[in-house]
């Protein structure tokens, strides 16, 4: 990869101990959105529509963390730095964590486990169907995220985990279709996603056809 050389070694890779600290730090940062919801809940400050607030908030953080997860490889491609790849599993699992909270809020707080109404909502409303599909697809990725599964699945693991691209697209579409009229925000996430995908494609192409 010729492009990478220019940027390589600008920053020193962190040591093993430093990585541990960085991981602990990222872990705590990823818990802030949850802590914030608890804090606001206790202060009775979750807006006039607290259920919608929690749904929106957990959905937002799931999407944002997913975008961060998908940014790790493009960072590697551009800068040559690889250490941040070690954060990928944790970020992916935090995305799954917030997706689960999102779904739990929906089936419990919003729909009080009324499975008939939930089924109707999923089937009849495209944005819910798309979001639900994305959720289902995250499950196999979370289940196969540990070392033993990586070993056991070998080559197939990588193929399976390519589902994350589809999940990201579905996540953005889910948000886009939910919005009534002002699509500026989902548009922003769609653009970020497009840029991240674009970087990957660009490097993939140029590595196949070296100049």
């Amino acid at each position: 990869m010729t492009h990478a050389n220019a940027f390589k070694n600008i920053t020193k890779a962190p040591t093993r101990v430093q990585i541990k600290w960085i991981k602990a730090f990222v872990f705590l940062v990823c818990l802030i959105p949850l802590a914030r919801l608890f804090w606001l809940g206790l202060a009775d400050d979750l807006s006039a529509n607290p259920i919608e607030f929690v749904e929106r908030s957990t959905g937002f953080w799931a999407l944002l963390i997913l975008l961060f997860t998908l940014a790790l490889t493009p960072i590697k491609l551009i800068t040559g730095s690889v250490w941040q790849i070690q954060l990928r599993r944790m970020l992916g699992l935090f995305m799954f964590f917030y997706v689960c909270l999102h779904i739990l809020t929906y089936v419990w707080l919003d729909y009080s486990f009324d499975w008939v109404d939930i089924t109707k909502d999923i089937v009849k409303h495209p944005y819910v169907l798309v979001g639900f599909t994305a959720f289902i697809l995250t499950i196999p990725l979370a289940v196969t995220s540990n070392d033993s599964m990586i070993k056991r699945l070998r080559g197939r693991w990588k193929k399976l985990h390519r589902l994350v691209y589809l999940i990201a697209i579905l996540g953005v579409v889910h948000f886009w279709w939910l919005v009534k009229k002002d699509i500026s925000e989902p548009l922003l996430y769609a653009l970020i996603l497009a840029v991240l995908f674009g970087i990957r494609l660009y490097y993939k192409k140029s590595s196949k056809n070296p100049i």
């Binding site: 400050d45 807006s47 729909y111 939910l178 009534k180």
Partner: protein, 345 residues
């Protein structure tokens, strides 16, 4: 004359009185809360920013100006409406909190997030205000908001409001039956529909600069709907003049229809022979119809319409069933006899 009708609602339920009485003290906090809220929006735009409780009790003006005005004319804003009649409408309904009604608003002229209008409408000037009457009328004329206040005895109407997005509130409006205003307007025999046109002031309303809807916001009713005794032109809520974010100085309230039918800050009323094309009909013809009657049996492509979240009931209250015509079938059902409500959604 003030006629006090019996009401089942405890006064303690209606108003956080302490807050009302001490509202001047809240102004300062409101300013700080506003800053906090706006930074919260910037840092996390997706989740509706929580508003500090102080913000919601602000009195409709920014700090300096409010204080300056207070020196000359105390209680200029959040002015109580004197001499309105209580009615039995909505007896037994638990009112949605004032804070929720005034901080959770769909008023796109002041921003598309429901937490934005309370902030962006602070400086909105709703006085003086005139409404022009035109179209199929004896003659075009205008009426000031002060004259509208005196046109007919004001009444308190406690109505359920169901938003097409699947949430609802119970709001104690103060207003006059729209029929009184229509009588004054003197429509001619050609008038079959009424069009309500909201203000679209680019200077005062930041949202109007963005072509999200076809501005000005336009809504409409069939003549019989407009003249129905349930239909009111609201000029206040909770016994006070309408807050800016709720559509000051006057807005339409049609309780058996989805909330978006209630045009806010109305400046023009036009009588027409043909069915008017409303802003939302133009924006999404498959989603928003002219009638927009609350109907749990007619699905919406986005939101569940068979149940709703009642605002103010908390995180664990779940949903309640949505009622046909928002529970006003007895009063309005006969107007739609023979009309296919699936087609005419």
């Amino acid at each position: 004359m003030i006629i006090q009708a019996k009401s089942d609602i405890l006064s303690s339920e209606i108003t956080p009185k302490v807050v009302f009485e001490n509202r001047r003290d809240f102004i300062q906090q409101a300013g700080l809360g506003l800053f906090a809220a706006s930074t919260a929006i910037l840092s996390n735009p997706l989740s509706a920013a929580p508003l500090a409780s102080g913000t919601t009790e602000g009195d409709g003006r920014l700090l300096g100006r409010a204080n300056a005005r207070a020196a000359f004319k105390p209680n200029d804003r959040r002015q109580k409406i004197l001499g309105y009649t209580k009615t039995s409408y909505g007896a037994g309904e638990k009112l949605s909190p004032y804070d929720d009604i005034t901080t959770y608003n769909n008023f796109y002229e002041f921003g598309t997030d429901k937490s934005e209008p309370v902030i962006n409408a602070k400086l909105f000037e709703s006085s003086p205000w005139t409404v022009s009457i035109e179209g199929e009328v004896k003659k075009n004329k205008t009426i000031s908001i002060d004259e509208i206040f005196k046109l007919a005895p004001l009444e308190e109407r406690i109505y359920r409001m169901r938003c097409v997005e699947g949430w609802s509130m119970v709001i104690p409006w103060v207003g006059l039956p729209l029929v009184q205003l229509i009588k004054w307007a003197e429509p001619n025999a050609n008038a079959k529909y009424v069009e309500f046109i909201s203000l679209a002031d680019k200077q005062q309303m930041s949202g109007v600069n963005i072509p999200i809807l076809d501005w000005p916001y336009t809504e409409g009713l069939r003549m019989d709907e407009a003249m129905h005794p349930l239909t009111i032109m609201a000029v206040g809520l909770y016994g006070e003049q309408l807050p800016n974010q709720n559509g000051a100085p006057m807005r339409l309230v049609v309780p058996w229809k989805y909330g978006f039918k209630g045009g806010k800050s109305i400046v023009k009323i036009r009588f027409t022979e043909k069915m008017p094309l409303t802003s939302w009909m133009k924006a999404g013809p498959s989603e928003y119809g002219f009638y927009a009657n609350v109907n749990p049996k007619v699905e919406h492509p986005r939101w569940t319409q068979s149940s709703e979240k009642r605002i103010g009931t908390g995180l664990f209250a779940g949903r309640i069933k949505t009622q046909m015509f928002n529970g006003y079938t007895e009063q309005v059902g006969q107007m739609y006899a023979g009309l296919d409500l699936r087609k005419n959604f």
